[in-house]
């Protein structure tokens, strides 16, 4: 236990010092100098066809995309969020970029450009995974003695560059691959579930994603299987002026379990970049998915120049009896965050949990929260949201709890806490609660507080510097959510909290 901690300390120090030498405040602000191949600028039917062709997709997939594209043309960008969104010119974006030497997908990790792997190492991907991604160590039986293992799928710009532990997962019956691969290898599963949770025309950004998504991750856990390790995807936007549209589809069949981690970063650029992802989770009878995200896209600089516009649709469909889903998110990056991971609790006795930390500093804006749609009987949901604002940032929690007429004896508990650092930032809480059933109950608690001067002074009197003191106090404020993360992610997240609040005091 202690040893692991030590090892982890060393890795983090290495990672931090590498990164410190590359970027300044934004830890992941480096870009990787790799030749990139772009599709032509803008969006039209030909681009959709091109993306489909680049991925060697079957016709049904192309048809699906074109249907989405035609719907999208008729949709309007939503404007109900508490966000000031500069006008986005959707024709002034690239919709596809991939490292040029990956025209043919690498058959093994040895064929991956070393610069790519270097990038992943800077991202703090756990050391063992870095080695795997770099092909340094073979997957050997000794690995089994490790306490925790994570299989990693890395998505660089539009393309998945490699997945680790594939063979071992396969022998457990677990499918973990890029979605482009799944479309070719497992068309029946994809056809059955893709778009079944987030329909093509669910919303403007989801619809755009359906038309142009270039890659993403696919997971299928068969009946009765507990996934033998955590699965993880690292998303990285590298190419300039390029939108990233990944699509993730995870299916947990009856009585299965998986814990899935998602990490995202992007280089520091003056131009804003668009990210519109869709994540669909399907949870069948007695199954459980834990989905954890640490989102650290470039937030823009202190004056709000650059940064990622993050418009994400994430939804879990608890179709089965006793099915369970837990969303945990740590949102520290992006100039704009528009994101509401939701749970549709269809199955009787199903439950959904949402744990969130959203940090906004400088000019960042976040409008994030969740939707809990109770449809089945005896369904349970729990929401714990911690919003932290510093600088001139605005942070909104927006949550919907809806308990339907058939959803007897259902329960929701919502805890929504906001913390302000300084007096130029804002925190807003927008809860919508609709209970259409007299046997159901929804509870909502909300607090807003400031980082306390006395707490800061106390820490500093004990020798802790001001920024470290703020980080310590904020991490304490977020503890409930950090505890919901897998351990390794939790430590990474704690460091991120500190880094994203740098410069917020004094």
């Amino acid at each position: 236990m202690t040893d692991n901690y030590e090892v982890r300390d060393v890795i983090d120090k290495e990672t931090l010092s590498t990164v410190k030498s590359v970027g300044d405040t934004y830890k992941y602000g480096f870009s990787t100098d790799i030749e990139t191949e772009y599709a032509p600028l803008g969006l039209n039917e030909d681009i959709v066809k091109l993306i489909s062709k680049k991925n060697n997709e079957p016709k049904w997939m192309l048809d699906w995309r074109l249907k989405a594209f035609n719907r999208w043309k008729k949709l309007k960008q939503p404007d109900w969020a508490l966000l000031k969104i500069p006008e986005i010119d959707f024709q002034d974006q690239y919709y596809y970029a991939r490292p040029a030497n990956m025209k043919e997908k690498p058959k093994s990790l040895d064929e991956v450009d070393p610069k790519l792997l270097e990038t992943y190492s800077k991202l703090g991907i756990p050391l063992t995974e870095q080695k795997k991604l770099a092909g340094v160590i073979e997957e050997n039986p000794e690995d089994k003695s490790e306490n925790r293992r994570v299989a990693v799928d890395a998505v660089f710009d539009s393309v998945s560059v490699g997945t680790t532990f594939k063979e071992e997962l396969k022998s457990a019956g677990v499918i973990f691959c890029s979605i482009s691969e799944a479309i070719k290898e497992y068309p029946d599963l994809v056809k059955k579930y893709l778009g079944s949770v987030v329909p093509i025309s669910d919303n403007f950004f989801a619809c755009l994603n359906a038309a142009v998504f270039s890659d993403g991750s696919f997971v299928y856990i068969p009946k009765g299987v507990r996934c033998p390790m955590e699965l993880s995807t690292y998303f990285r936007i590298n190419a300039e002026n390029t939108g990233q549209f990944e699509r993730t589809l995870i299916i947990a069949d009856d009585n299965s379990y998986v814990s899935y981690l998602e990490g995202c970063t992007a280089p520091q650029r003056d131009e804003s970049q668009l990210h519109a992802a869709v994540v669909e989770l399907v949870i069948l009878d007695e199954a459980e998915i834990k989905y954890s995200t640490v989102q650290n896209w470039f937030p823009g600089d202190e004056n709000g120049v650059g940064g990622i516009y993050n418009f994400v649709t994430k939804r879990a469909d608890c179709r089965g009896r006793n099915s369970k889903v837990m969303w945990t998110q740590v949102e520290t990056g992006s100039a704009i965050t528009w994101k509401y991971p939701s749970c549709v609790l269809k199955g009787d006795n199903s439950s959904g949990e949402f744990y969130s930390i959203a940090i906004t500093n400088n000019m960042q804006q976040a409008d994030t929260g969740t939707k809990m749609i109770h449809l089945g009987k005896n369904t349970n949901s729990r929401i714990v949201s911690k919003g932290i604002s510093a600088g001139k940032a605005q942070n909104t929690y927006r949550g919907l709890v809806q308990i339907g007429g058939r959803s007897q004896n259902s329960r929701n508990f919502t805890q929504c806490d906001s913390l302000l650092i300084g007096n130029k930032c804002g925190a807003h809480t927008v809860p919508y609660i609709e209970v259409n059933n007299s046997s159901a109950r929804a509870e909502h608690e909300a607090t807003t507080s400031k980082v306390d001067e006395d707490q800061l002074f106390y820490c500093m009197q004990r020798g802790i510097g001001e920024e470290d003191a703020v980080a310590l106090i904020v991490n304490g404020f977020c503890k409930e959510v950090l505890q919901a993360l897998p351990m390794e992610f939790a430590m990474e997240a704690q460091k991120l909290v500190a880094i994203s609040l740098e410069g917020s005091v004094g």
Binding site: F457, C459, M460, R462, G463, G465, L472
Partner: protein, 254 residues
């Protein structure tokens, strides 16, 4: 070690002078006690020495080991060896005691250019101190001061002192809220900790504490000034007659 010369301090928020010309000199190994009526400025003096925001230094100097203390940041003063046991220790929800202590200790070591203490050595050190002060493991696992009783919080302050090994310690009413046994425990902790190179400034309302922690000097503070200095018998006098003999002294000097 510490030299305060004609110090005058006002509040930043309102035009009100709290410390009105205070001088005090403390040598290594000495124990000084300060007594005085409520509101006379004792805690304010502690806060100013520790470097808290919100005060304006109108006049005077504070010298610590030859350097200008008022120039140093709060955490630098801590690393120099200044420790203040708070009259009202602060709660920090969600931050475990161990994490807090380790962060504090290693921050100070880092500032002083020393190597950080590893997890195993740290644990051993803390457990030893906690045992001496009869602080339970369960207490140590809790968030800093959250849910602790008044007396438990004070004991926690002494634990922090022992861990951080400061050279100059301010105890601001550490005895208030302690039961008799706890007071003995805390006093023992302080006495074990004292040495020829460490100095203490003990703020208290009760002579009782000074039976355990015996002062070399007792100062009476009234209205922002030290109006009388004596030996430990001065505390006995205060206990018997209160401050009425000293109040006039405060008003006299301007």
């Amino acid at each position: 070690m510490l030299n305060i010369d004609d110090l005058k301090v006002s509040l930043e928020e309102e035009e009100k002078q709290i410390i009105k010309g205070l001088s005090l000199s403390i040598k290594p190994g000495e124990v000084h006690a300060i007594m005085g009526p409520n509101g006379s400025g004792k805690s304010t003096l502690s806060s100013v020495l520790a470097g808290k925001d919100g005060y304006i230094i109108d006049n005077g100097t504070v010298n610590f080991d030859g350097s200008d203390l008022l120039e140093a940041e709060v955490e630098e003063r801590a690393a120099l060896g200044i420790f203040m046991a708070f009259q009202y220790p602060i709660e920090i929800p969600g931050v475990g005691n161990m994490n807090f202590l380790r962060t504090a200790l290693n921050s100070q070591r880092k500032t002083r250019g020393q190597e950080e203490l590893n997890a195993a050595d740290f644990l051993k050190l803390v457990r030893g101190i906690a045992k001496d002060l009869e602080i339970s493991d369960e207490m140590m696992k809790r968030p800093v001061n959250v849910g602790a009783s008044g007396g438990e919080k004070k004991r926690n302050e002494i634990l922090q002192m022992c861990l951080l090994e400061p050279r100059f310690v301010i105890l601001d009413e550490t005895d208030s809220g302690l039961d008799v046994d706890a007071m003995k425990l805390v006093s023992r902790g302080v006495n074990n900790f004292s040495s020829s190179s460490r100095s203490f400034l003990v703020i208290t309302h009760y002579q009782r504490l000074l039976n355990y922690i015996v002062p070399d000097f007792v100062h009476i503070m009234v209205d922002g000034r030290i109006v009388k200095t004596g030996d430990k018998t001065l505390a006995l006098h205060v206990e018997e007659t209160g401050y009425k003999d000293f109040l006039q002294l405060g008003k006299g000097k301007h």
